[in-house]
Point group: C2
Chain length 88, copies 2
Amino acid sequence: MSFQQTFKALSDPTRREILDLLKSGKKSAGEIGEHFQMTGATISHHLSILKQANLITDEKSGKYIFYELNLTVFEEILSWIQSFQKEG
Amino acid sequence: MSFQQTFKALSDPTRREILDLLKSGKKSAGEIGEHFQMTGATISHHLSILKQANLITDEKSGKYIFYELNLTVFEEILSWIQSFQKEG
DNA sequence: GCTATATTTAGATAATTAGCTAAATATCTA
DNA sequence: TAGATATTTAGCTAATTATCTAAATATAGC
């Protein structure tokens, strides 16, 4: 929820790679995990951190849980970054 | 230097606050430290991480070392964030 | 050269965290 | 209901890191 959580979530390369994967659309936890050489448990841990940071949303569908980017938080980070560029 | 270093550097609230302080112009390590209830050594450590991440530059002037924002890296993060917003 | 000031470096510690394995939960199908 | 699949939770460990104190380095002025 907090800004701090968002930045912490983004500071891990695996989590940023997960976000990159999700650019092409929603994916199940298993599909996401296939791209990494880590256990599903570890991926689940990362997904939970991204979710807490509001960077992704999840949606259950039968056996699967689908994850999707949540762009609203990206807006906030964008504004923060831009505040350094604008003079004044 | 790396993207990873930049994000790690940004993931600490003290370091983000240092960056915010530097928005108003260059400041010495001591001036920066005055805003925090931490030892100078700790602030120095944070400054070193920000410097390694290329988010700030330093300039020695007599007894003092002045730190200043380096905006070029902010551009890169901005692009990364924006890559999520553009569809495709 | 000596002393005071500004900052960093070194070394230690406590807290956080990324990863694992194993167990638990949930859903589907036979 | 039993078994298979998908995912999460719990508990552990090794690595990282934010912080401290103490020591080191550098500069200025007497």
